[in-house]
């Protein structure tokens, strides 16, 4: 138990550091970008048919962008201390209100993609690993390589053409119903599964070659029973750890997939906020993604501890 407490407090310190570093770094990076931020914000708000220098100056005055940079930074930090992320410079809405909605959409997409990728990777990886060099193994190798070598954007368009346009089984894009979730999740899941099924396959191959596997077969257990009783748990720990590593890939993929499928998520919002120099939104979105990453890693650690009893056994 104390191990978990120790781990939690370490992660908490990490989270605080992440907040500080991301907040300061994103502020500094936004300041360092070329171009006048009043012009960019005015551009984001009003579009090119209305925006001009006069509008940009009005925005500068309204938002106090002529104030010294340190003063602006200080204001953000004091706001943050009271858990206030401020308001979006473009839409005028509270940042947290905008992000909370987008975060839900992104989490939904990410979770559904992970579940779908495991549903693909586990059977394919286990079957390939149980019979290395077999038909299944070679086929999954070829498919994995080809899927992984297609950029996420192109894969998404191929899926749209096939499943939505050709067979009209699913909608091309949109948000709000379960069926809208399937195509973007599948596009992400295929990229993720293309790697994780190979990782899983290698772990299974290793397990099958291990003495304990041979022993359980020798004592008379069937292959299926051995896999269920012994291989599953041994394989689960490294697999969960690997899924943790994939989270970084997932967050990156979400940005592209969200924009292709018009999914109103946080990745999509972050890209827009950067273009529009919406500093509070960039800070808010980057913070949320950073903290999310810490939280998910914490979850992965906990899960690994739960699956792998060796530490607990050693402690007792």
């Amino acid at each position: 138990m104390s191990a978990i407490l120790q781990m939690s407090s370490a992660r908490l310190v990490q989270a605080l550091l992440v907040v500080l570093v991301i907040g300061l770094a994103s502020f500094a990076m936004m300041q360092a970008l070329p171009g006048d931020s009043a012009y960019r914000i005015a551009a984001g708000r009003y579009g090119y048919d209305v925006m001009d220098a006069q509008v940009a100056e009005a925005v500068r005055l309204e938002l106090g962008l002529d104030q010294p940079v340190l003063q602006q930074m200080g204001r953000w930090l004091t706001q943050l201390a009271t858990l206030d992320l401020g308001r979006s410079l473009v839409s005028g809405q509270p940042v947290w209100q905008e992000i909370s909605g987008q975060l839900g959409a992104s989490l939904l997409l990410a979770c559904s993609a992970i579940v779908m990728s495991l549903l693909i990777a586990i059977p394919v990886g286990v079957l390939s690993g149980l019979n290395p060099g077999g038909k299944m193994d070679r086929l999954s190798m070829a498919l994995s390589v080809s899927v992984r070598s297609i950029p996420a954007f192109a894969l998404a368009v191929v899926l749209m053409l096939l499943l939505a346009v050709q067979f009209k089984l699913l909608p091309v894009a949109g948000y709000g119903e379960i069926r809208h979730l399937v195509l973007p999740s599948l596009a992400l899941a295929l990229s993720l599964a293309a790697v994780s099924n190979r990782v899983l396959r290698d772990i299974v191959v290793e397990a099958v070659a291990s003495p304990w596997f041979q022993f359980s077969r020798t004592k008379g257990l069937s292959q299926a029973a051995t896999v269920r009783r012994h291989v599953a748990r041994n394989v689960a720990a490294p697999l969960v750890a690997y899924v943790g590593v994939q989270l970084a890939l997932l967050i990156e993929g979400v940005v592209i997939i969200e924009s292709v499928f018009s999914w109103p998520g946080i990745g999509h919002a972050l890209v827009h906020a950067i273009f529009e120099r919406d500093v509070p939104m960039v800070q808010g979105a980057a913070l949320t993604l950073g903290l999310l990453f810490v939280a998910l890693n914490f979850g992965v650690d906990l899960l690994c501890k739960l699956i792998d009893p060796r530490d607990r056994v050693a402690a007792s």
């Binding site: 006069q54 089984l169 091309v172 292709v260």
Partner: protein, 505 residues
């Protein structure tokens, strides 16, 4: 055998869904424009197009002013005030449209960016059932300005104490049921609409930034009306049986802005030479996929009063361009780039990717100008770099799209572009006081006898001096489902015409 069975099954499912679609009464629209909130200054155009909110003055497809929420309007003898008489209408929450609501909404519009902000307004007030707009100087194009989407009238309850827009109560034929910023909105028919109620039961709006995705949505039937297709999507959809594509000339022009004080561009001869080296027909056919869209003068024929068919068309002649540059003392250097007294003919063009064709046209210009010995660097960035460069004087040339009919009458845009000192989206350092004077006279009076002659004078001088050189006139592309009846594409981009739409039996 098995694959055949699968295909048959898929076709079976497809046809069943299509039959089901015939009974539909709503419509799904996909466009590239995201909804940022409910403020008329930033999102009024979406609420106007979707028939949620309305303006005092409306237009028909030809750009002729029509009664909107105002039944009639009248200027005072001295032209310093206008009286608008309102029609009887109710907001979606059941409250009656009052002159107070209108005065409040217009005052807010005049304080926010938009064409009403540029008008010489001193006060907007309610007078009984009428609304009075008081001016500092005559402004004949005021009714035309009141067709602009930033002047839509929401209920006054729509704003909080700070004037920030909170909800979406309008007077239009459709009321908002749900709004999910920035992507989607659903509306339903407003039964107590002052005019004829809509035939459709409702409409949904989805902002889809990527042109590829929008085209696929039209093809798969996920969207019944898709606005703004990229050239390849437009061609592809032309071959799809269930979809109808339309391309309509709109008063939007792709322009090349040239800094008239730049040492390489400070004579009309130099600017004309650059214009002569642009293969407009090639760009129109190859990039825009609409050969008829090559610009022959600044304003397109759709802007009837501002289009002069007697003007000689802008030509393409690299040979003549080279001769003109030679007459200015430019001679080819070792690498083929022109030089004069040790200076290279090298320019930077600013453009932006929000309209995907702009960087492509920028690259085409780079190639076409290279043939006459001009080195062009294309800088693709945020569009605000163009007004920023105009203000700090660092801009040499810029490529962008300009809408000359956001208020129906292009006078307002022409005045800000070619008036005194030029404009962020118009002339830069161009000395033409007589044009500025002519434009302000045109703006003051919408009906004077000399108006036509003054317009002629303005367009002729722009055509000869080329402070901006038009490249192509835009086509607005729309894909609609075949079963949809009553589709009219508004060249002014004010409305999607939802009120007149219905599904065929």
């Amino acid at each position: 055998m098995f694959p055949k069975l699968l295909i048959a099954l898929a076709i079976g499912i497809t046809t069943t869904t299509l039959h089901a679609a015939d009974a539909r009464t709503d419509i799904r629209i996909a466009t590239p424009w995201e909804i940022s909130g409910s403020d008329p200054a930033t999102d009024g155009f979406i609420f106007l197009r979707m028939g949620v909110m309305e303006t005092l003055v409306s237009t028909d497809a030809n750009g002729t002013l029509q009664p909107g929420l105002a039944l009639s309007w009248q200027a005072a003898e001295d032209g310093l005030s206008w009286r608008f008489t309102l029609r009887k209408a109710t907001f979606h929450d059941g409250s009656v449209l009052s002159s107070g609501d209108v005065a409040e909404a217009l005052t807010r519009a005049a304080d926010n960016p938009g064409p009403l902000n540029d008008a010489p307004i001193s006060q907007i007030s309610a007078d009984g059932d009428d609304v009075i707009v008081t001016l500092d100087s005559p402004y004949g194009i005021l009714p035309a300005v009141l067709t602009h989407s930033s002047t839509v009238i929401p209920a006054s309850t729509s704003a909080d104490e700070t004037g920030e827009s909170l909800n979406l109560i309008g007077t239009g034929p459709f009321k908002v049921d749900s709004l999910s910023v920035p992507q989607s909105m659903t509306t339903s028919r407003y039964e107590d609409y002052w005019g004829e109620p809509a035939k459709l039961s409702g409409a949904s709006y989805l902002a889809v930034k990527r042109a590829e995705t929008r085209a696929l949505m039209a093809e798969s039937g996920d969207a019944d009306m898709v606005h703004t297709l990229d050239p390849s999507g437009y061609r592809r959809l032309g071959d799809v049986d269930s979809v109808q594509v339309q391309s309509v000339a709109i008063p939007r022009v792709m322009l090349l802005k040239m800094n008239a004080a730049h040492p390489l561009l400070d004579t009309p001869t130099a600017r004309r030479a650059l214009s002569l080296a642009i293969d407009r027909e090639g760009i129109a056919a190859g990039i825009m996929r609409a050969p008829e869209s090559a610009a022959t003068q600044l304003f397109p024929p759709a802007l009837q009063q501002w289009y002069d068919k007697t003007l000689p068309a802008l030509q393409y002649s690299p040979e003549k361009a080279s001769e003109m540059l030679a007459s200015l003392g430019w001679t080819p250097g070792e690498d083929g780039i022109l030089v004069r007294e040790g200076e290279r003919f090298s320019l930077t063009l600013r453009t932006f990717p929000d309209r995907p064709e702009l960087p492509l046209v920028g690259a085409a210009l780079q190639d076409q100008w290279r043939q006459i010995g001009i080195e062009l660097e294309v800088s693709v960035s945020n569009f605000s770099e163009i007004p920023a460069g105009h203000q700090d004087g660092t801009l040499a040339v810029a490529l962008y799209a300009r809408n000359y009919a956001s208020t129906v009458d292009p006078t307002g845009a022409v005045q800000s572009d070619f008036g005194v000192g030029g404009g962020d989206w118009g002339a830069m350092n161009w000395q033409a006081p007589e044009v500025a004077e002519a434009v302000s006279t045109i703006a003051a009076s919408a009906e004077s006898k000399e108006r036509h002659e003054l317009i002629r004078q303005v367009i002729t001088q722009i055509h000869e001096d080329l402070p901006v050189a038009p490249v192509v006139w835009y086509q607005h592309t729309v894909a609609t489902a075949k079963g949809l009846q009553g589709v009219v594409v508004d060249p002014l981009e004010r409305t999607y015409g939802l009120q007149a739409l219905s599904w065929s039996e």
